[in-house]
Symmetry: C2
Subunit: 378 residues, 2 copies
DNA sequence: TTGGTTAGTAAAGAGTACTAACTAAAGATC
DNA sequence: GATCTTTAGTTAGTACTCTTTACTAACCAA
């Protein structure tokens, strides 16, 4: 029983055509991972015969998703390989980042995550006065960027703060002053392009997962105005029972009270750790000890909240995303406090680090999610 | 993009034969869920044509896994259905529960989770004196029960405390005094039957998942000598980076110290909540207030530990497994404390409850895991 | 030149599920 | 009572997917 049979995870029947589609996706994924590759090599990687791989590649070339990129220099005996690769111009996506209202961004992103063209808008949001973000601003921004794309885009991915329903409606987003905004519908109707709306932390997590696919079990904590996270377990982004996974900002941390939070309760994680708080401490005095102390307390509280999560899910990585300068001093505090509160792992120890490339992390993640949704490319 | 295409989750190619196997599994799963069913109904449930379903059923009948159970009483116009059902006698498993050394259990379990025959052994384990459980006892117990099975068993499932490696080796199990015991290998060689070894909490969680398949996102907390848990996210049991998911007993809970734990640190969850502690409080005095107080404190601390997990994974259920009499008073405490520490859910509120049928929960879970591993039956 | 190795293609075959058309058996309708 | 309608299940033929086997093409090494 040890060699567990290859198990497929679906709740509906699997037809041969479904398998074919999966195999086509695998080819694209493999190409994304390896770059230009021969058909023979692809066949070995994916686990089909050369014959089948030639057929799969031919289909992808016919669709304009893959193209021939010439002959490899021979590296030994035998006929030199003819390499194929993703057709980058055929895999453009439009990514939108709404996480910072003062700096709404949209960009054309290629399959490697490179931003080809970017535009920004500034929006003033004051939820307290009932002045939310006008969705028309988002639609205009998307249209403007879409017009600059050199090739048709595969889809539009939007990373937004707040809770997003599976149908692409933003249930609630306090930072944007939104309640039940049918964002997917609005943008899709305005553009005629498929639209995917996700939470910004989930997008960031997907970006991290795509760039460093080593960690199959991790949590990415995004520190901004508030605190959110994305959880990856077994290589899959956790969605949750109500599509609200990752909303840890208003979890009470500790058993000794704390400051009163905007949500009305005391000791929420956001009251201990947030960008405004870290920045204020940095700006306030010339006393570096004060800033250190805020980082110390915030990092400790984050570790208190994360410890049960890390233990219960047996995570191997904790990643912090946000302003690097502010979070840099937090990392060792989190690492130390987590070590204090957990049994040491038998094998590889827990890694705590900053996100590999925090810039445009939401944009890249939104683009990656579109690729995943449209092509099954991880 | 809203109708997300049917996505298969594998990292290797999907051959037609893989799809076929999945579809056969789906038939078994559906029969388990619905009981005796017609081929036409199965076809509608699984999502294939009647023709294909007849073929699938014929194969399963040929293997002795499904059998004809006569004609249905006509419930309307049309030819009456000929019903088929799982052949329960052909789907026996042998389940073993090592979670309580003083009461090692093994049983023949049928596909419904009914225990057909059971045997027990008592073992004295004193890890402090280096006297661990002799694996030969387990082998003898398994052999004894196996001899009583009326039909060949599909596999042997063992639920054991401690950390289990994917190859079926028990890495460490303090309660049994075990370190690196190749349990799967030992039992497999002694019996010639496929063996699956899992953590006891994981087995219990699988049992709960099988009996009430409603909750796709839940945590089951097993309270015994220590505290362990099984996490289900998106309907899947979480394994973790080092196959150590669920080990929350030695997570520090709270920010205000606590008793010293056997692991050497202070404030571990196990120091706040455990069966010995609850029982001692119940037995100690005639003062019911004392027992209440222990349940109060233990339940509160459990909620403190679970809150970040529930929020981050957006769980919909928290299930407590263990001695019902002791845990009964803990449930409302956990529910209240969790509500205090979390933002209320927009939709269905969080459910906190006892396991539906705590008796034999590890045995049933181990059996269910064998069915899953051998047949893909959930 | 000859032999060995690797890439890629061609033809034939096995497996899977489909559609179309059938039989069987019941209730409904005239 | 005869005929229509409905549902279950089977038979025959078809399309699709991947495989095995056998081939050509192109290179290195001796």
């Amino acid at each position: 029983m040890s060699p567990t049979p290859r198990r497929i995870s679906t709740s509906t029947a699997v037809l041969p055509a479904d398998g074919r589609r999966q195999n086509l996706s695998l080819v694209l994924q493999t190409l994304r991972r390896l770059g230009p590759t021969s058909r023979a090599q692809l066949a070995r990687e994916v686990g089909v015969t050369k014959v089948t791989m030639s057929d799969l590649v031919a289909e992808l070339i016919g669709e304009g998703r893959v193209r021939d990129v010439g002959t490899a220099e021979q590296a030994g005996p035998g006929k030199p390989a003819t390499l194929v690769d993703l057709d980058r111009s055929g895999l453009l996506t439009l990514a939108v980042d709404l996480s910072v209202p003062a700096r709404l961004q949209a960009a054309v992103v290629d399959v490697t995550g490179t931003v080809l063209h970017r535009e920004e808008r500034a929006a003033a949001v004051d939820a307290g006065q009932g002045r939310g973000l006008d969705p028309a601003v988002v639609v205009e921004l998307v249209r403007s960027v879409l017009a600059t794309a050199q090739h048709p885009v595969l889809g539009i991915g939007i990373g937004t703060p707040g809770l997003v329903a599976p149908d692409g409606t933003v249930r609630t987003a306090p930072n944007l002053g939104w309640t039940d905004v049918a964002l997917r519908e609005l943008v899709a109707e305005a553009t005629g392009v498929p639209v995917l709306v996700t939470n910004d932390s989930d997008a960031a997590t997907q970006a991290e997962l795509s760039t460093s696919p080593a960690s199959q079990d991790m949590v990415l904590v995004q520190v901004g105005r508030g605190v959110g996270c994305g959880v990856v377990s077994g290589g899959r982004l956790v969605r949750g029972a109500h599509h609200a996974a990752g909303e840890i900002g208003h979890v009470t941390v500790g058993t000794d009270g704390g400051e009163t939070c905007s949500c009305g309760r005391a000791g929420c994680l956001e009251t201990w750790l947030s960008v405004p708080r870290l920045r204020a401490a940095l700006d306030a005095g010339d006393d570096p000890a004060a800033a250190d102390s805020v980082a110390e307390v915030g990092g400790h509280r984050l570790a208190v909240a994360l410890a049960p999560l890390v233990a219960a899910l047996d995570l191997s990585e904790v990643v912090l995303a946000g302003p690097a300068a502010l979070l840099e001093p937090v990392v060792p505090v989190v690492a130390r406090s987590l070590a204090d509160r957990l049994l040491p792992s038998l094998d590889t120890p827990l890694t705590v680090r900053l996100a590999t490339s925090p810039e445009d992390i939401v944009l890249r993640g939104a683009a990656a999610l579109v690729l995943w949704d449209r092509l099954g490319v991880v």
